[in-house]
Amino acid sequence: MESEEGGEYIKMNYDKKNIKMQKKYSHHILLLVVPSIAIALIIIGMVFVPTMNHSAAAQLSQQRPGLNANISLPTISEAARNLAQKLGINSTEVSKPRQNMSDLSQKLAPGGSLANFQEQLKGLGQQLGLNGTLLSQLRQQLPDVNTTQLAQKLDQALNDDDDGSI
């Protein structure tokens, strides 16, 4: 019993102390707690807001592919050149089809150097945020075009130039 009373006494004593301390330091605690909460909120804001913005931007770019405001023609150009160099291609040059049609056919044939580069460009275009919808529209509108048709069309244009239409 004594011990319990003593315990209660001690407890009451302690509580009294505690109340006194609370009274004495309550405004100090507020001074400590309020800035802490503010700092915590700032940290949470710093961590979460950019993430949320990023995911919102990602969502937007998913909804509206191709609307990449930061991309520029030179950036795309440099990316394409880098990719070409990785594949061991210096350029997309071919022999003049009028003189050597097989060079164009070989390079654009499946497994050919330019066909391979073009296949890789597709993935790079997606990474760079090029308008995939537009590209698919192009594909839907027209059937496959072969190299002979490509060469014939350029030849026709060059012949027109030679005739003095330029």
Binding site: R81, V145, L154, Q156, A157
Partner: protein, 162 residues
């Protein structure tokens, strides 16, 4: 007599050396002139190249033929594709080399037959590195390229990309 002979010998030697000097000078001048003319011809030489315009969508967009001496430049390009409704294909020469200006020069739009013709006296055509084709709205009031609507690229080789 011996003294005269030695003087004559010296005189002959001098004469020969003068002749050799003059002939050497003439040959040197000739070589120098020929080399400069050759160099000028090399610089003025026209490069004629054909490039494939590779499509970003996995299809070949067309071919481009470029003739240039570094200044007088003619670009003839063709595409078998037609742009989407209300759009047009526009070609650009891009200076996209490392640390380059990044300047895109519009070559104009492809006509309804899918042909582009461009001729100009460019200050330095060899600075350009690529030819890009974008899809632009018809009668586009914005002269800048619709970059994200790029459908094809032709990567140039030497002498371009200087």
């Amino acid at each position: 007599m011996k003294k005269f002979k030695s003087i004559e010998f010296i005189m002959n030697a001098m004469r020969v050396s003068i002749y050799i000097g003059v002939i050497g000078l003439v040959i040197g001048l000739g070589v120098f002139t020929a080399f400069s003319l050759f160099q000028r011809n090399v610089n003025a030489a026209q490069s004629t190249q054909t490039y494939v315009i590779l499509g970003w969508g996995g299809k070949t967009v067309g071919l481009a033929d470029i003739v240039s001496d570094g200044h007088q430049t003619t670009v003839t390009a063709s595409t078998p594709y037609i742009p989407p409704q209300g759009k047009t294909f526009e070609a650009w020469l891009v200076d996209g080399n490392y640390g380059a200006s990044g300047y895109p020069l519009s070559l104009g739009q492809f006509d309804e037959k899918g042909i582009l013709r461009y001729k100009a006296n460019i200050v330095n055509a060899y600075t350009y590195t690529d030819l890009a084709v974008t899809v632009e709205p018809k009668d586009d009031p914005d002269p800048k390229p619709a970059t994200s609507n790029q459908v094809g690229v032709a990567v140039f080789s030497s002498p371009y990309g200087k």
